[in-house]
């Protein structure tokens, strides 16, 4: 009986006796993941501020999301953004076989759709400002503009990053650095879709957008 117990105990490995070899790609993606978590806290702060200012007193007589924002237009933006994320994600599957063409196509389509998303967002904000409902009109509008603009700015940076990677995969090939950057770009773009889910559901749909 005692012998059996010892045998069973010996088969259990509670830890790895040897140190892992250094893995720069995992270290980079994990470090970037930590950045994304802190980026998420920035959006959490903006959404908290929006929730606090989402009342008629803070709107100071100006219209709010229910009249300013279009739920259907927001849903079109959602589809465009999901399309950009899907294109980039499918493009990075080319890394598995070293296919530059597929990856380049994914990056290009993602950058194009990302540009459409940003253009739609900026056009919406511009129309609001032109109608006298700009960011200086009320505390509510200041927060709404900052929240939507911050997300759009993230997407614009993602588009720029995609274009840079488009150049790098042809100039440097699939080096360790380039692969690490591509994995981080995929994480970054996918994370922006997750943030938009929260923004669309809360600001647009809970806000009663028409």
């Amino acid at each position: 009986m005692a012998h059996e117990t010892m045998t069973a105990d010996a088969a259990v490995r509670l830890w790895n006796a040897e140190a892992d070899e250094h893995d720069p790609i995992s270290a980079r993606t994990y470090g970037f993941w930590l950045y994304l978590m802190s980026d998420g806290l920035i959006f959490a702060s903006l959404i908290a501020a929006y929730a606090v200012l989402d009342n008629k007193m803070s709107a100071f007589g100006h219209p709010m999301a229910d009249t300013l924002l279009s739920a259907s237009q927001g849903f079109v933006q959602t589809l465009v953004l999901l399309g950009a994320v899907l294109a980039l994600s499918l493009g990075t599957l080319g890394l598995k076989t070293g296919a530059r063409g597929g990856l380049a196509l994914g990056l290009a389509v993602s950058a194009a759709l990302g540009t459409v998303f940003v253009a739609q967002g900026l056009a919406g904000l511009d129309a609001m400002a032109a109608a006298g409902n700009g960011p200086t009109a009320s505390a509510y509008l200041s927060c709404l503009f900052v929240l939507l603009f911050t997300h759009g700015l993230h997407l614009a940076i993602g588009v720029l990053w995609s274009l840079v990677m488009l150049v790098q995969i042809f100039r440097f090939g699939f080096t360790q650095d380039v692969v690490g950057r591509l994995l981080n770009l995929r994480l970054y773009t996918q994370f922006q879709a997750a943030v938009w889910v929260v923004v669309y559901l809360y600001v647009y749909l809970f806000g009663g957008a028409h």
Binding site: A51, L95, L183
Partner: protein, 121 residues
């Protein structure tokens, strides 16, 4: 996290993605958001709207976490999963505590807009 870094294309994070996962995440997430959009357009009671939006939010984010980010308990991904699990309460505390504190403050300090408008007349 051990891997041969001299072959970056063989890295687990490169090899983990599949077309089925990415398409599935996009379709399920899109459908969850369309469901929320459809229900919101029917102008339901507030409780029903909140319930629908919360379900859509959870489905969409969980699917994205599992299929886009590939978060699981594997050796390659576990620390990202742990980090997210530890950060989610911070998101909830940041938003929840701020809203709770200011809604309470608002009720005690801000004048009723209807009273203000009657005073202006």
């Amino acid at each position: 996290m051990a891997t041969d870094h001299y072959q970056p294309l063989q890295h687990p994070e490169v090899q983990q993605g599949t077309a089925l996962r990415y398409v599935g995440a996009t379709v399920i997430s899109g459908l969850a958001l369309y469901g929320a959009y459809y229900v919101a357009m029917t102008r339901p009671p507030l409780a029903e709207l909140v319930e629908t939006l919360l379900v859509s939010l959870l489905v969409s984010l969980l699917v994205q976490a599992a299929l886009y980010f590939g978060l699981d308990a594997s050796r390659a991904q576990i620390w990202k999963s742990v980090t997210l699990i530890l950060t989610v309460p911070l998101f909830l505390v940041t938003i929840g505590m701020t809203v709770w504190a200011f809604s309470s403050l608002y009720a005690r300090t801000m004048p009723d807009p209807s009273i203000l408008s009657s005073m202006a007349m």
